[in-house]
């Protein structure tokens, strides 16, 4: 399993911090509400543990997007079910949300948060990736055939207290991609 040095860990965290700042700004401007940010958590996991993490998303609505290019992996946006209606209300959805509207809401928020998080991350590291369309994701339909020998998970949390809105974005990178991402990070640290 991959191990990061303290400096690499700090650098990844800072780069992700900037990316999630951009994502939160995009959401805050859309709904005219301040979004609280967490400190990004970075963890190296076995594929089984990553799978377990995904299966644990049952109290949330989730959507996944895969990305390909100079690094590849999965971005998963997971929104606590409890805060969805309040957000939907601000975003002018008809309440109560039916299945189709829920999926539409989740996919829209995913596009904003996952897109900005990944875009911020790759542009700072001058990597090129292409993000595929998000798909609604039910944890019971586990992501099969992850043949990655090790996964690096970067997790960030967006909260809007008074709405009970709580969304997590997980970026999973495969082992080869971690190495690719570390090349520009090490260069930044050496300059």
């Amino acid at each position: 399993m991959i191990t990061l040095s303290e400096e690499e860990q700090d650098a990844l965290q800072e780069i992700m911090n900037i990316s999630m700042g951009q994502a939160a700004d995009a959401l805050a401007r859309l709904i005219q509400t301040k979004v609280a940010l967490s400190v990004p958590a970075i963890e190296a996991l076995s594929p089984e543990a990553f799978q377990g993490m995904l299966e644990g998303l049952k109290s949330s609505w989730s959507a996944r997007q895969s990305f390909v290019g100079s690094i590849r992996g999965e971005v998963i946006t997971s929104i606590q079910k409890e805060g969805c209606e309040a957000l939907a209300d601000i975003m002018d959805f008809d309440l109560p949300l039916d299945k189709a509207a829920t999926e539409e809401l989740v996919l829209e928020v995913t596009n904003i948060l996952s897109g900005a998080c990944l875009q911020g991350f790759t542009s700072q590291l001058e990597l090129t990736t292409q993000l595929n369309m998000p798909a609604f994701y039910y944890p019971e339909n586990a992501i099969k055939n992850i043949d990655w020998s090790s996964v690096l998970v970067i997790e960030v949390d967006f909260k809007i207290e008074h709405m009970k809105f709580d969304a997590r974005v997980l970026i999973g990178l495969s082992e080869g991609s971690i190495e690719q991402a570390l090349i520009p990070i090490r260069a930044l640290l050496e300059e």
Binding site: G21, A28, R29, E191
Partner: protein
């Protein structure tokens, strides 16, 4: 004479990045602080005529540092460099007396323009 400046940020990469984009012809002595407490110490010890201040830091965050400087009527020129770029963060920082709010990732050009605007270059 060289101006004492302090870069306050908990991330080593971020402190390094700010050092890297400082104008080459700006005569300064650079100090570093890893949290708000160290940032205030630097100000009190005369090491921060200009303070580059991150907002999210452990122990004491950037907002608390701004409050403290404001309450004590300190003359330090504070330039906030933040990853949280939401309109509310910018408004709060401005109300607390920061000279400028710059977004991370910071570029050399942007920093140079800002220093010129506030009359430091």
């Amino acid at each position: 004479m060289a101006i004492p400046i302090t870069i306050a940020d908990d991330s080593a990469l971020s402190r390094k990045t700010i050092r890297r984009v400082l104008p080459a012809d700006w005569d300064v002595t650079v100090h570093e602080a890893k949290n708000g407490v160290e940032a205030l110490e630097a100000v009190n010890n005369g090491l921060a005529e200009v303070l580059f201040l991150d907002l999210q830091m452990p122990q004491m965050n950037g907002y608390e540092v701004l409050h403290e400087l404001h309450d004590k009527h300190k003359k330090t020129i504070v330039i906030v460099i933040s990853a949280d770029i939401q309109p509310e963060a910018q408004a709060l920082v401005n109300s607390l007396g920061a000279f400028r709010f710059l977004k991370k990732p910071i570029s050399a050009e942007e920093l140079s323009d800002t220093l010129q605007e506030v009359g430091l270059l």
